[in-house]
Assembly symmetry: D2
Homo-oligomer: 415 residues x 4
């Protein structure tokens, strides 16, 4: 990446974060709704901490830390970087204030602006990593705020509702034959021009068995049919862990859904609204997605099947997150797109690709150590910043997680 | 109470609350550090809710509720008043904002100001109840903020430290003979001129056995001696429940204490400071207080013993909470005072007095339903508003609680 | 106590234990149904451990321990006696077998038989303490086996059902005026001829306020009326802790009760049987008892009120546990008796009497350290061995406990 | 399978179970040490329940159930078979007794003996499934008893120790090149002559990348070196979930290990013994195995890599479970064997093979519904009955499990 591109890239990514934070009060940005989520303020500070630590501190001679005691607060999980605030205690940081954190951002931005011309190629690569990292936290900031606001009985909207419901019924699924045999997937090595996280590579040969993919995601209308058919009450449709989760949690609909006199509604970043039948279903767990697929006599795609199909499409055409002035994270399409709207659960456990090895040092803690117990999701969502998505992208969450914008697409064996 | 007195009384109590809230940001006022504690903002709103509900709504014809959906948020535990927000969810109320809550206070104050002249004696009694209620929450607001700030690694101060450490060593305890035989305790019936909560009465005869009371509270220096003598490691000193609590919680010093290179320090509303040997020990549980007393070959006083002795003293002479411009909640005295500095654990379980019956309706839920599992504390603390204390006052907490300003005085059998 | 009496007393108490254990298999005697309960085998061994430790080991020169590693297993809670098996792990002792434990009992009995003639008066007092201790565990053995068997879907009976249901309706309650003013309660000092546990004394003056006691316990018929009137659904009847307990546990009837096509039944030591309307209600918690009393516009008696009234009655006339050949622990009477059938919850927290101090050494851990968080029960039950009961006897359990034979009698203020 | 073979097969499998149960008392066979484990008695009854339900009830006209209420007790997890006893309550079944359960076994055996000649091929296939099922429970019976006995401070042995420690040092690992490219794995369809569980198929093409496998398992000596090098204290070696597990559980050595004055010992089915340096390490979790592999600059094999290598070996040559008279489940070999001693953790999540679909009905609940959250283990252990093992066999456990005989073999990338 050229200096000039890096500078523009950095500025543009950082700008979006501030736009996302704009509707939030100091209090909004402080609360933590569950251990899995972080306060918006913490996301904001952590993003800057990443640049300050891995670029300014490590690559800019003479850089003076902004505050000596803040790294303890804003390190997320990098054991190599020393002790840190317990994750569940992030919600106690009423101070520093949101304004203090924005000052911190400005100071880091100013220092980055001064430094960026002198950075080595290695450090420039870290700038891009920092931008990608910030984009990930942009999405988390949105999903965490959604979760926090959902617990406030006042059901406030962060942004006003824009657009209208999806028109008409979803078209019936068309089953697309996938390729079979040996085929390459995964990201090429860094340096090849496009950024990728370490876990997306190495590029390697995978073996595809005969299969078909649905041409679109599962819709809310289809999910309502699953519910009407007793899908949440029939243990034979569920994985054993999934059934136990469904029982102990009393799950009977997607997350944020509520049953009322006028039918099902869902809480969104624009407040509570009726379910849109034609839109993709969202906020379902892997367990629910798997049970739905079983009910539909289908299965979830493997991540290789998904990636090979998605590689034929342009990520930039998806319903992804734009801004400013156009922030409306909401799944709306049921059209044959592979990117945006809602992440798609795959049936693949999140494990290392053949030949994977984590980077050295703190950066090496980025992905590899999370490779157990989670499943891969693909394609990005309406909360994923445009420009952040690619076919090889591997997102991962635990099978009970639902607070991200998560949906599914069906696959089946044979051709 | 005369109208005029009621108006002044109301204004002065409400004013102190606002002074207490002044150093808090919107975020400070929003966070909830544990289920036992409430956000400052919630306390502020709940105090107004009390007046709005039990006076404006119930006694002022034509009063229009400030917000239809707020009572659900700010009812504390009155089952009679209908469903309410779960206690542990109070920390999710980033909205309404602190400014919104202060507007609510102003609106209630204005309505009260208009209404107070027309109130019936019965309603005027509720005004006084509301003022007493607000004073209780003033203390809780302080102890809850202390707890919340203690969880922030930055260890911020709410108010600057004022005053200097207590000089010199505490004088040795003098044992005072208490009276014995039948003696009256408890508050006289309401209407007798002085306010009292229902649980403080009825006034009744109690029987005192021969006993002595220490002339002052236990000090930090004495507590350090208990620690140095292995008091926290010797199970025979402890109640069985207390020992289990000490073991599972890993308790080895009073709450907020920390061991460091320069000795023990304590986190306070003015940040972290060295332990003051001559000051009364504070932030100890009933279990710790009981173990200390056993170690000292003494026991905790009964509430009757305490009340009879305290009735000889003037509550207004204690180290209680003043303001504005003089807010410094900090235990400092080791002198023979019965009021202020730190609540004193008694050995009496919080149970109804002979002949007690709770009032009808929601107000009846004020005290009686908490009469199990808790112990009585007496005398008020440095965080109790001056004017709120009296000899018959019964405070109550669970035996493991430590976040209030809680200490102890010793007693022993015989005369 | 004379030697000869001690020998007979010892033999007779030990004999009953063996009778109680007779219907139990090795497996029955091994399982532990909850941390509060102990396996029957453990009770059997612990009773012998008590005699072996505090008499044979401490008072018989040259006594050789039966097994060096068994005291670790069978010490209950005596911190002074060193480390011990965690309470919740008692159910893992498939070995030693029941037969091994009975051999241990025989060996201890033989050693006691040899030793008893030579014991000092002090040691003889410990023999009586050991017998009282064993009688307590006889009752616990029964209540623990009842609990364990209740969790086996086969609902086996330990003893066959004997006797028939109580005839007719319970007579209406007669309210008896209690005495008022200063009156003595509590056990006289040991050595006065009758045994008492340390917590029953010292004998002291108590002050009674005007009150009345019901002449009999609350019956199942009355409890069913409370249930029919929505007693379990009305929070205003309940203590706050009690309501929380009722909600989280989903309580809607006494323990062991089950609703069926033919009405309510209860699981007993003789299997499952229909509720007997005229019998005293049993297996209710303090919280339930208190809510019932509130519903009935009454209250629970204080322990002093109870003791003064009970002192007029003969404990031996109660429905207590007999044996052998006559083991049928079942509450049946609704007549004006103060002893037997079901322990009566009082409204008194279990706290030390004025002047109480625990004995030195391990024996001193017997009662005093449990004096927090529990309530006093009085009068014994159908599972309390005849000869073990007296008016001053203070039993104590936590307010949520229900697995003992626990019921209630009402009291009210005034005369 | 011919009738005659089926009869002999059935008899021989059932015989081994009885041999395994022989040293157990009624009490030994009753206790349940954790929810993951079952009482031996329950295993014994459940094995018979399987034959009674799926063969006698479903395929033998006129068969009368042995006891109407036992299926509720002894169904494991077959939702299709109706409600059942909660897993954690299995330890409350002091009745039926071990003798009752053995009578049940005899009755089922007699009925099977009468029926087996008339069974359809389909039913005969279920006989084999029942035998395989019983063999699985034979291993679980051993591992569950080991766990239960480990919690008894007496540390009893089930069988006397046989044999001597492994001689000498383990030979250094030899790295064997594995094949690469497309290769077939998985079991052929049933009917092909050899039994396999449904999850072992369908046989399909897998793609192997260049890799090497160690010629033997990791030994205790190597594990001690990992420990000495701080392996349990260095978070960078661990998966994130693994490190959290290690921290909350305080893990610092394999399960059943204890540190003492004379070094490390391990509790076994023959009591506590010193660690044998040359034997394969056993009772380690997936998390520990993965951390060890990272420390050794290697990784765990995939299940395809393992199966291809193991297919070259004869399962019957492994250190598997024999009997009677030769029951000594103990890992001893460090030689280049793929079968027996200790199951080997693979790096493969337990997920369906391409084209997998579960069978219909209750039998279909056998494997498929467990395909989330678990990892595949291969090769069998010293507690796996000889004759039960094959290269395609997929065992599966959660990554924190340690109470099975679980070890590991290393793999690495490249050739």
């Amino acid at each position: 990446m050229l200096m000039r591109d890096a500078r523009m890239r950095y500025a543009s990514v950082r700008k979006l974060t501030e736009d996302l934070a704009k509707p939030l009060s100091d209090a909004d940005a402080t609360i933590q709704s569950m251990p899995d989520a972080s306060p918006a303020k913490w996301h904001l500070a952590h993003m800057s901490w990443f640049f300050e630590t891995f670029i300014l501190r490590d690559h800019v001679p003479g850089y003076q830390p902004y505050r000596a005691d803040w790294p303890f607060l804003f390190n997320s999980y990098y054991e190599t970087e020393g002790p840190r605030l317990g994750r569940a205690a992030r919600g106690m940081l009423s101070r520093p204030s949101l304004a203090d954190i924005l000052d911190y951002r400005s100071a880091v931005d100013a220092a980055m602006d001064r430094a960026i011309e002198q950075l080595s190629p290695e450090a420039l690569a870290l700038v891009e990593l920092g931008c990608q990292h910030e984009q990930q936290h942009q999405e988390l900031l949105l999903t965490d705020i959604l979760h926090a606001f959902s617990l406030n009985p006042l059901e406030c909207a962060v942004w006003p509702r824009q657009g209208s419901p999806c028109p008409g019924d979803p078209a019936p699924v068309i089953w697309l034959d996938g390729p079979q045999g040996m085929i390459e997937i995964g990201a090429r090595a860094t340096g090849s021009g496009t950024f990728a996280f370490d876990c997306e590579g190495p590029r390697h040969t995978a073996l595809l068995h005969p299969h078909q993919l649905a041409d679109r995601k599962v819709t809310n209308a289809e999910w309502l049919a699953f519910m009407a058919d007793g899908g949440y009450e029939e243990p034979r449709l569920w994985l054993s862990d999934g059934w136990a989760w469904r029982q102990t949690q009393g799950v009977r609909a997607p997350f944020y859904w509520m049953d009322g006199a006028h039918g099902w509604t869902s809480f969104t970043l624009s407040g509570r609204h009726p379910i849109d039948p034609a839109a993709p279903v969202c906020h379902v767990s892997f367990y629910e997605a798997d049970a739905f697929a079983t009910w539909a006599a289908a299965r979830l795609p493997t991540e290789a099947e998904w990636e090979v199909a998605a590689a034929q499409h342009d990520p930039s055409g998806g319903n992804l997150l734009d801004g400013p002035g156009d922030i409306r994270p909401r799944p709306v399409h049921d059209s044959p797109r592979f990117f945006g709207d809602a992440w798609e659960w795959t049936g693949s456990a999140y494990r290392p690709y053949p030949g994977f090895s984590a980077a050295d040092g703190a950066i090496g803690e980025y992905n590899g150590k999370f490779m157990s117990g989670q499943y891969v999701l693909r394609g990005g969502s309406c909360a994923t910043p445009r420009g952040h998505m690619r076919a090889s992208y591997r997102n991962f969450f635990y099978p009970h997680h639902r607070w991200q914008f998560m949906g599914l697409r069906l696959a089946r064996d044979g051709a």
